[in-house]
Symmetry: C2
Amino acid sequence: MPTRDGARSPQPPRSPGPSFDAEAQSPAETGAKPPLPPGLDLLWGRREGGSRGPRRGLSVDEIVRAAVRIADRDGLEGVSMARVAEELGFTTMSLYRYVASKDELLQLMWNASAQGAAELQLHGTGWRAQLREWAVIQRDVLDRHPWLTQMPMAAPPLAPNSLRFVEIGLGALDDTGLTDGDKIRIIGLLSSYTLSEGRMAHDAASAAAQAAAAGTAAPAPPWSFEALLRELVTEQEYPRLHRLAWAEAIGDSPSGVEEREEFLFGVERILDGTQALIDKATRKDSPSS
Amino acid sequence: MPTRDGARSPQPPRSPGPSFDAEAQSPAETGAKPPLPPGLDLLWGRREGGSRGPRRGLSVDEIVRAAVRIADRDGLEGVSMARVAEELGFTTMSLYRYVASKDELLQLMWNASAQGAAELQLHGTGWRAQLREWAVIQRDVLDRHPWLTQMPMAAPPLAPNSLRFVEIGLGALDDTGLTDGDKIRIIGLLSSYTLSEGRMAHDAASAAAQAAAAGTAAPAPPWSFEALLRELVTEQEYPRLHRLAWAEAIGDSPSGVEEREEFLFGVERILDGTQALIDKATRKDSPSS
DNA sequence: CACGAACTGTATGCAGGGTACACAGTTGTA
DNA sequence: TACAACTGTGTACCCTGCATACAGTTCGTG
């Protein structure tokens, strides 16, 4: 359960383990890096523990990998501190020596899943092909780790790998003549859409899976999305939806192949919109005509 | 916690209250409406209990309204069956006489928040103005009920009010000459983007609020998103982001006004893309020129 | 009218969640 | 050698959603 409520617990007396304050103790600019907000420091590799205690039997990396493994297999719901600890053969509370909270672990998982973005190269030629490729890659990641679409995702992602990926996306727009602001906005738009689409696809798939599982024992017929629409949507109340529902085939959403096409359709529309923006900017730059 | 795991509980022996099976008992087509999957029946007003017992002291409507009230105030995390029951002065379990599960309650909340969509009229002239208005309205709803962005949202929403809203969106595209399929795809694209953007905005705001709350007691400076970017993003590793971060003002995300502009920017891009699609379709229809 | 089925709300209990805290054991440094 | 720092463990607390058993109310039917 992604907690992040911020209301029930008005900041506990401050971190259980002492190692978390290691750098945060230095009040201001001691010459080196200033302290980061909790969560980000670990993400960016700024958190060092002393070396006085017993050998550590675990590592943040192992924990994150185990959590991702579980999430891939059982979904995000399956990821509990107890479950992760069990996977590693440790007790639940031992994890808290490495990770401040479950939320932090989730952030680390997010970042881990974006691994490979660092070495990514876009092969296409021209901004349009590259941007399409960029979106598709992002979508592939979401399909491979569907639990990503269920994460809280506080704010634009500040994880190193995520930023790296954004950087690559910006690179695709290098030669378009857009302003930096427009570039990042386009990236945000495309990314936003991709994320949302991935989320809906995954939710639909999981709902279908659940329905199928229930259907093995239940007497209810296996309602398809199409059938449900036809059942529920009356002609006079929803004329347009009615026409759509009774048209030959909207395409059953469950089958992934249809969904993919729909996603690509959206991407093309966004790319068209980007093209229009580029045209506008270019026309303004050189008012010859 | 949105449950919907579908793995832990492989279909319980069938509904706790007997009223839920009221119609489901009739095996097939008894002439009237066939049984709907659980959850949807209540949503579409097909679920009648007998009239033999004591007066009911509660109603589905009251429950949903109470839940929405809590969610508006404390976020979706604050909505627990116990909390809702407390708000109504009843015991936790009493709610299960009206609602089959928490998931079902969430679906009802979703539908309730889309109320008003039924009477909605788009005032603008031309598909572009209307579609923009449509997106903005949707976004307004999300801003008024931020918890909507955190809901599971299994599959395209089959709630009556949601479908009504989609129907209205389709209506905006009536005179564009697009195919029905393209129309619904455009609606999906725009809706998808709006939802995602609303989600990110809300998450960012809630993260900022949490940071602010923590900042009152913590020694850490109140990191703004911009400041964090500048701190984290090195010039050689993230040249483009670096330039963006150090440019005068990307606009602090927390302030809602900036975010709104960015959202509208995205909407314009999508509308541009739609325009391009319309142009293409029109050109194909009448190959004159 | 009386009886019993149908229905209401309640109380209790379970399995599971996140995590605060006290503790025993291990290690590097003084 | 002593001590501070650190490790992993065990226990405990409060919260979740929900199954189930129960007592009380109401209505349809005999």
